[in-house]
Symmetry: C2
Subunit: 96 residues, 2 copies
DNA sequence: GCTAATTATATCATATATGATATAATTAAT
DNA sequence: ATTAATTATATCATATATGATATAATTAGC
């Protein structure tokens, strides 16, 4: 009836990562996380660094990082600016 | 060579309206104005007043009015809340 | 026209986004 | 492994979004 009692750090990390993945998947359902994922994807596809993107739109690398972290609630204007820096158009609409 | 010198108030108003329409058309190209127009349309189609919508999402009528006026820069969260009040999903993405 | 309902505007308090700088942590290149 | 480049985190100052209340203006029903 005994399960393993000692737990390696690797096991812990694996567990943490699983939780993290679940959490991120959960979060990815929300529009703000979807748009952020899309922005990161496009930025990297274009071979842009955060700093380069920041320069293009007149802000700082740390602010791009903050946006991409998904830890806050950006304004429409800011998203529009970033979209422009990626040579994309921001589209916002209602579905359902 | 003379054009009409006296100008009626109606003429002025017509001119102002024309400018206003042009301005609104110009503004409507921007995503924030598109989404706002869509929200107003859906709200009225659903027969909801600003107050009713406000109550549903825990804010005040004046704040809905402010949003619908298009005179400021809403956050993604706020748009999401309003979308939810309209039983819709907010969709944000990059095009182009 | 009068009244009620709805929407718009003004204003204040507060929370929070944004810009900016510094620096830590991570990743890439050699 | 070291160094350089990139990204993440922390923090501060400032601007602005949001909630709230009051009231004006507009619109709808009668």
């Amino acid at each position: 009836m005994n399960k393993k009692i000692t737990t390696s750090w690797e096991d812990v990390k694996k567990e943490l990562l699983k939780d993290s993945a679940t959490y991120k998947e959960y979060k990815s359902l929300e529009p703000e996380y979807r748009i952020i994922s899309q922005m990161i994807k496009i930025r990297t596809e274009q071979g842009l660094t955060q700093k380069e993107l920041a320069d293009k739109i007149g802000t700082k690398q740390s602010n791009i990082s903050r946006l991409e972290s998904g830890e806050y609630n950006p304004s429409l204007e800011f998203l529009k600016k970033v979209a422009k820096g990626l040579n994309k158009e921001l589209v916002v609409s209602l579905n359902g």
